[in-house]
Symmetry: C2
Subunit: 206 residues, 2 copies
DNA sequence: CAAAAAATCACGCCTTTCCGGGATGCCTGA
DNA sequence: TCAGGCATCCCGGAAAGGCGTGATTTTTTG
């Protein structure tokens, strides 16, 4: 009997999965939570085999919750659940210890299969998710890590501040700001402010 | 007996709503579809009182589907269903004839209430959705209409083209491009490229 | 048709970015 | 200890953008 727990802030999703899993003999739903806090509280005194976890929760994002769970209870398998089929999200979840990634448009069969796969310690990725992951790593999407300062400057630029204003804000000289911008341009392979801001927003670098 | 139909590409959501509505005596689920095409086909020979409609579907967006439904069957009330609490989406759905907007984190009570309200011809907005709408219209979010040329220039700017490149692309002089940019700055109340691009992306002006 | 809105082009002036260098400490991990 | 990444600062010239103002032509629309 596989014990499944759900964390999702959408009542209909919880209800739907509950309803779907009820028909399955060897799967049992032991509980659910609509936020990270309740989930963590539950596991301080209970356990489960698999957690179906929405990546966006009201009080914490799925990535952090997943990391916490895997750190404290490595035996529990986390199966990420999301509407978004974005390489970045998927990658982050997998890096945080998730055993799989399931899109919410998955049907009953797929959900059950995913649960059975991850409970054995294997990895399950929705077909589309797998695709997104691949195309993400193999293509240009590859964003080099930015330093703390660079991120600060980038955020300020995206807010529309001029170099002078940024310099004042960060208590550094205008030249330094320019240096950071130059590095950002080089790292992100852009050549002006417009492309920089666009890339920053679209890749959630703020 | 209120007849409810669901259009959503997430099996769990359909299952969840079905399960929730089953317990309600005076509401009946008459069918569902996981895409716009099936939905339209269904209504060519059936009807319903309320359609719960996801705003993002695989083959068509909710806004267009809503418009189609209301045009052909004005008597059917459309209740938009979405994860996103964004003023733009909400506004577009309402403008397309939807009777309400429900967030997917709504509980059983709220869903049922919403259905009962819209079937009477009234409007139902999730609390949060109402807030987003208000803050959208009443605050600065108010975006004046842009002309065709302005949109073209804006798109080019967001792509990272320089004024010279834009001029070549649109077969106009650099001065004209600058004029359009000046107008954009004035209309959108920004003062540099960074803010312009950011605002353009965040308000889906591309 | 006549008024309004949009699109076009122009000039001058100043500010800001962009770019290619170079330089100096500081800290960390191999 | 020492290389390398990081953050800091500097210079100078070229390019692009921002701002005010004004003008002409086309298009839209009441």
């Amino acid at each position: 009997m596989i014990k499944v727990y759900i964390v999702d802030d959408h009542a209909v999703v919880i209800e739907g999965i509950y309803s779907l899993l009820q028909k399955e003999k060897d799967i049992e739903m032991t509980g659910y939570a609509s936020n990270a806090a309740n989930c963590l509280q539950y596991f301080s005194s209970h356990t489960a085999d698999v957690i179906l976890m929405d990546i966006s929760l009201p009080d914490m994002n799925g990535v952090d919750l997943c990391r916490l769970i895997k750190k404290n209870y490595p035996g529990i398998m986390v199966l990420a659940l999301s509407t978004f089929n974005q390489g970045t999200y998927i990658r982050k979840m997998m890096e945080s210890g998730a055993s799989g990634y399931l899109l919410k448009n998955a049907g009953r069969q797929e959900i059950i299969e995913a649960i059975k796969v991850v409970v054995k310690g294997k990895t399950y990725l929705s077909f589309d998710a797998g695709q997104a992951l691949k195309s993400g790593t193999e293509q240009l999407n590859n964003i080099p890590p930015l330093t703390k300062r660079e991120k600060e400057v980038l955020a300020a630029v995206a807010e529309g501040l001029t170099n002078t204003q940024i310099a004042e804000k960060l208590f550094i000289s205008v030249d330094t700001v320019e240096s950071h911008r130059k590095n950002l341009h080089a790292k992100l392979n852009v050549k002006n402010t417009a492309m920089l801001v666009r890339l920053a927003i679209e890749n959630d670098l703020l």
